[in-house]
């Protein structure tokens, strides 16, 4: 009986004492929390993202001695892509004075958007999160450059038009959008609906419930509908299942286009040869052939300091996070031009994000020429001027099969500004005057 009592006692004590334990961050560093999901249902997507972040930040520390001499400190926290665990992670790491956070989950992003101005932490939801936050006049603390879901959807429609032979050829075409039934998946719908009205194509919206393992009914509908094009907004296991199902009904693979979260190696490999020809949008070039990858190999993996396996370098999501981390670092560097080469506050880093101007020359210096497009962020436009392209799976690797596609900004931007007013009203924000910001 005594051991039993002792054990119960220990557990009770542990439960009570656990959360007190915190670590103090070293002074003289800039702290970036990493909300990662290396376990759980979305781990296959989460692991390359997490490794990309660690590798790039470590590379900056090892190769350049930090950002202008200021080291980047980071710490991972496992959230299993679960919103509640993500919030717990964020609150825990907040005690270390982070300057920015990359949530990598739409659910967690929605949690952090209202907190950002209160906590003075920049939220960088790169290519995800809430599209309306791209209006920087209402959401000074949230950035989603280089592109939003709405811009992406419009780029997709433009791509379809180009394949069909012009915008006027869209008329009467059938496009199906298969989406994850969550805020994330629904994001593209308003833009697609608007474009369907303008260009008179037939849009069918098909929701797939989380986690997306069961899609038989959806693909039965696809068979009946026989659309000309399919656009997929999926994540995790939903992507693999969708691609397998598309192959199973014999749909033409080169007419299935995923969004940029629906086109990574783990999505297509399980479908085997059937996935050949599958396309997806992207804004960061795939492959490990860039100079930055050589540096990562040389400074990290050759010395045994890499975060993952060497063959993971160059995966779509790995590259995406490398680009993300680079943008974080460059924003901090921009902030340093104004505030000096020292550890910065969230407020100062926010200025850096807003004045980020990434030129072709700078990208070349960073060893990322061609990996992404030059980017310019302004006070009004937190989406920047990014463009997307289409990549295609050839059974072994992803190949870029289109030029950079400019989104239909004249459609997206007005809708986005209207949505920003709606969303900001909910939070009781007022619009700031960008003319006064400098």
């Amino acid at each position: 009986m005594t051991w039993r009592v002792a054990l119960v006692g220990i557990v009770a004590l542990a439960v009570a004492a656990g959360p007190w334990v915190t670590r103090v961050q070293a002074a003289g560093e800039i702290f970036i929390p990493l909300l990662v999901y290396r376990t759980g249902p979305y781990a296959p997507n989460g692991i390359p993202i997490a490794n990309g972040a660690i590798d790039y930040f470590t590379l900056v520390n090892e190769r350049d001695g930090g950002v202008n001499g200021v080291k980047i400190a980071f710490e991972e926290c496992e959230d299993q892509y679960d919103t509640k665990q993500g919030v717990e992670c964020y609150e825990r790491l907040k005690t270390k004075n982070p300057v920015l956070v990359n949530p990598y989950s739409t659910g967690i992003t929605y949690q952090l958007i209202p907190k950002a101005p209160v906590d003075k932490v920049v939220v960088h939801s790169m290519g995800y999160g809430m599209t309306a936050t791209a209006d920087g006049r209402w959401f000074p603390w949230v950035f989603n450059f280089p592109m939003t879901y709405w811009s992406q959807a419009s780029a997709f429609v433009k791509y379809v038009a180009a394949q069909e032979g012009g915008m006027d050829k869209l008329k009467g075409k059938k496009i199906a959008h298969i989406y994850h039934n969550s805020p994330y998946g629904k994001e593209a719908n308003p833009t697609l609906e608007e474009l369907a009205r303008r260009h008179a194509f037939e849009l069918t919206l098909l929701a797939v419930d989380h986690p997306g393992q069961e899609q038989k009914a959806t693909w039965l509908q696809i068979r009946r509908l026989n659309p000309d094009w399919i656009y997929i907004s999926g994540w995790g296991v939903m992507n693999q299942v969708a691609i397998k199902e598309a192959a199973a009904i014999g749909f033409k693979m080169d007419r299935v286009v995923g969004n940029w979260w629906t086109g990574t190696e783990v999505d297509v490999i399980p479908a085997g040869d059937a996935a050949k020809g599958y396309k997806s949008m992207n804004f960061n070039a795939p492959g490990a052939g860039f100079k930055v990858h050589q540096d990562i190999n040389k400074f990290l993996y050759d010395k045994g300091k890499g975060a993952g396996r060497r063959d993971g370098i160059g995966e779509v999501l790995y590259n995406r996070m490398v680009v993300n981390a680079m943008l974080n670092v460059e924003a901090i560097r921009t902030a340093m031009t104004k505030h000096g080469n020292k550890p910065l506050t969230g407020e100062q880093v926010r200025w850096g994000f807003e004045n980020l101007n990434l030129t072709e020359k700078r990208l070349e210096e960073l060893g990322m020429k061609g990996m992404m497009r030059p980017l310019r962020v302004t006070c009004e436009n937190h989406e920047g001027n990014g463009q997307a392209f289409v990549q295609q799976w050839d059974g072994k690797k992803w190949n870029v099969v289109s030029d950079w596609i400019e989104p239909i900004r004249e459609v997206v931007r007005p809708k986005l500004e209207a949505a920003a007013v709606d969303e900001a009203k909910k939070l009781g924000y007022t619009m700031r005057d960008c003319a006064k910001e400098k």
Partner: protein
Amino acid sequence: MIYREAGQFKTSYASDQAVFPIVQDRVFVLAAVVAAFVVPPLIAGDYWLQAILIPFLIYALAAIGLNLLTGYAGQLSLGTGGFMAVGAYSAFKLTTAFPQLSIIAVFLLSGLAAAAIGLLFGIPSLRIKGFYLAVATLAAQFFLIWLFNKVAWFTNYASSGTITAPDRTVLGVTVTGPNAPAAARYVMALAFVAVFALVAKNLVRGRIGRSWMAIRDRDIAAEIIGVRPLRTKLLAFGISSFYCGVAGAELVFLYLGSAETLAFDINQSFLVLFMVIIGGLGSILGSWLGAAFIILLPIFLTRLPHSLGLTMSVALQKQIELMIFGGLILFFLIVEPHGLARLWQIGKEKLRLWPFPH
């Protein structure tokens, strides 16, 4: 020695039937409640309040609600997540439609809305029992989540389908929304759960609670002695759903700030059910202990290797956490199938005799 009731004579029915008949219990609980109201807002940081204490209080409320239904009335329910969602979405609709309405009234009204839905889905309980009822309530869970996902009216036609808690005040202090200080939200959650725990405690020792237990223990016998199954079971569903509804509203308004239907998926139902089972079926204290076990232990386990000075990858840490957590659940269920509350009861018996056990 300390925990002795010798000399405490009950001279009236009132004192014999008190919620806490033993003076020590009364003093301890009162002190604990006062301390809970005063100490954490003063000394605890945002992380403690926001990430640990507030969810603990909210889940404790939900667990009390489910315990009334499953523990006391014996009706197994897997619809908790759905009922919490009803509370959350009705609170959102109410407070956006009537911004002047006090947020406390909003919470109570959304509890009532959840109770109404609970009554509706409680009707099958008259004909089906046990696991079959669990399946029927599972239908409630899936239907409600589907409904909130499908009908955009519930989210005020937000394109993303999320509901966001606006700023609302109580006595001039902002208690919901992003600008609410964590301490204010904590006090709000604590006030609700303290009041409702007291109500629950009184419910279960009165006529209603006794009729629930009669139904639970033997429904035919209960019917023979004059307990009406229809009313009793539906009442259990209604009151339980009321608790869950308030907890759901709090989950969005005091804890998450914004939520999608995924926040109320089937896992929530299981989570609350596990709290009730591990804490102790048919015990209000058990609901608290269960909530503490399920909410606090994983957080502690995640941080344990770090505090011991071990460096390991976060993935490994998480896997170990899941293994230990699962192991502990098994351990406690084997050691004490009646839950943590029973362990406490045994401890209390021993304390009464300490230090002179016979």
